[in-house]
Symmetry: C2
Subunit: 394 residues, 2 copies
């Protein structure tokens, strides 16, 4: 730990009281029961920069040093204070809405590395291969993850850039992904790049009972994970040129919702509970059997919900080959969804839901999963402690 | 021209008066002396999606059809109205600040194509190769360009996506680039990814005399270009890891400005005119001979200014080889600057300025130009006319 950084941290309480800093309560903090950026979020956090790191050090002491440095730096960053040697590109921007969420990948628990193999949670599985997966190893996995969310893309990138620099070689970037949310006026469910509202039936983050049931790890997990969660991230490329050449009624059948107002087929208004039993004159389900909303619905998944926090991504254009007819190889948009979901246990969350969807969802003909990972998200840090301390001392 | 689209356009005057649409004066329009997105801009347009297209049709009539469709669609898009077959992902977003700026590349004037070779402006040169250029053909050139600027990245992308679809094969995407500006609080010169303020000495877009002198094509150009401009775009990758490992005093010498407040070295405050003659005790220029501000200054370039409208870009990370010591090959940020400059004539604007800079600017050891192009930006469209009509009938 660098002494001057310690010094700055020691005086943060005083700094926060000064006129040019937001009150402590108004900004995110690494301390508390849960990490920021999971339950408390969304409003104004229109941009993300996600980064997966590989560990490049052999010893547990290096790990502790890294986690201490990141803990201190993340507090400074979330307060909008420059870190030591800061590159300053976020100096004039509004830091208020920055949150940093750290995660641990399976590599951290690898046998013979840091002596943490016995602490690997059973829920931190190696994700199975799903039908249709085209995961690029260069965009998949990682020993550590950091999700930065902010109102300004430069603030999010700035935060990860400082963490990467302060890692000082102990952790090196493995892959990164930018994302954004289009902000609806004045407040509504955002639309994804397919033009449909995304998140109408999400977990209610303001309901502690729902969060406890579906998102936060409870007594079933190891002590160091209680109050934590599990993050599944998938980079999902959308065949937008193909999608744009389909008719809206077909898109609505595929999705199971109307496009303009987002109502479930046969329902009135976006927040109507879908009627999955309703049939048309021919006896077919109004909400098609392989439609996206039916596949994803808790009613069709033993009541399971996962907290989605999706961003769109737009990496321009590049040459690709389409997976479905009309097969075509050429320059296409490299744009789509950064699917991000938090859950209490992926074995009862993402995995069974997506195992079914990956085989049957009509939407699959327009989507390709090209990268991602699963990370254990430890709980919030106890004040005076550092990221991962409970794990390391477990 | 599709009759239903015509119909919609015909009624736009009435629509604009309706409560749910901004007044005509409040939104950008393709009509007027100049295209939108050049002089009138900036406030709130924090995102860009730039697209270069190749023409895929042989006949002038197809070109007219394309330009008519784009003219009609661009008016709808800037009014926030859906185009025919719209993909709707911007339906709930605020369209108000969208501007679309169209350009013509050298390919439009190729001999034996559309019969326009005699109309190619002398100023629309083939850009020379500059020292250090590493232009990727897959990110360079194009027959047509569209720059969409908006307050929401989805609105900018949406606009280009509709234009690409409505081109109906007559023009196909060649390359694209997203960009953003970090919005300073409450209003200040934005910082680029090097952490320095960028644009302190830009052309004053509110001064018609300066715009006429440096930006708008006058009587020296062909009649169809009067009131137009020339766009130079360069995708400039920054070696941020390398930059972040240098000390601030070195960075300030390289730039010729202080980092925190952006003052020229030896001056007080960002908007002080740099004193290029001031020397230190050893007789060396305070603002180093090969510093970036000296290289770019009008005082060192026969009074020439170009209107810069830069965006940062962030395409994540990929494997690259550094150009300068410490040489390293590995995963690095693919982030930097979308340099965009408008000027009356590139032969007296970008070309001589950058010819010198590309050889001597100290900043070059941290930057690599990886793509770009030069496009003739025709003037605003006469109402009742279409994009490029004056050129095609010239």
């Amino acid at each position: 730990m660098n002494p001057s950084r310690r010094l700055v941290l020691g005086s943060l309480g005083g700094l926060a009281a000064a006129a040019n800093l937001p009150a402590a309560a108004a900004v995110a903090s690494p301390f508390g029961m849960h990490q920021p950026g999971i339950g408390s979020h969304a409003a104004g956090q229109d941009h993300t920069y996600f980064a997966a790191f590989d560990l490049a050090v052999p010893k547990r002491a290096d790990l502790v040093e890294l986690f201490r440095a990141w803990t201190d730096a993340s507090q400074l960053l979330m307060y909008g204070e420059p870190t030591e040697g800061d590159s300053l590109e976020a100096l004039d921007a509004s830091p208020g809405r920055l949150s940093l969420t750290f995660g641990f990948g399976p590599g951290l628990f690898a046998p013979g590395k840091f002596g943490l193999e016995a602490s690997r949670p059973a829920a931190l599985i190696d994700l199975p291969r799903f039908p249709g997966d085209e995961l690029d190893p260069a965009r998949t996995g990682g020993d550590l993850s950091v999700q930065a969310c902010a109102g300004d893309p430069q603030v999010a990138f700035h935060a990860v850039r400082q963490l990467a620099r302060l890692a000082n070689g102990a952790a090196t970037l493995r892959w990164t992904q930018t994302g954004y949310v289009s902000r609806p006026k004045p407040s509504a469910t955002p639309r994804n790049l397919m033009g449909f509202k995304d998140g109408s039936r999400n977990v209610d983050t303001t309901d502690p009972a729902e969060m406890a049931r579906f998102v936060w790890v409870g007594d079933e997990g190891p002590a160091w994970m209680r109050g934590g969660s599990y993050l599944v991230i998938r980079r999902i490329r959308m065949a937008l040129e193909h999608w744009d050449n389909t008719k809206v009624p077909f898109q609505e059948q595929t999705m199971g919702r109307t496009k303009t107002d987002g109502a479930p087929i046969g329902g009135h208004g976006e927040f109507t509970t879908p009627d999955f039993k309703a049939t048309d004159a021919n006896g077919n389900y109004k909400i098609a059997e392989t439609s996206h909303v039916r596949m994803a619905a808790p009613e069709m998944n033993e009541g399971i919900k996962i907290l989605r926090r999706p961003y769109s991504y737009n990496d321009g254009t590049n040459v690709t080959a389409e997976r479905w007819p009309p097969w075509r190889e050429g320059l296409e948009y490299d744009a789509g969804l950064v699917f991000i979901a938090y859950q209490r246990d992926p074995r009862t969350g993402f995995v069974p839901i997506f195992r079914k969807m990956s085989r049957m969802d009509m939407l699959n003909q327009f989507t390709t999963h090209t990268g991602g990972g699963l990370f254990a998200i430890p709980p919030g840090i106890t004040r005076g402690s550092y990221l991962g301390q409970k794990l390391i001392e477990s």
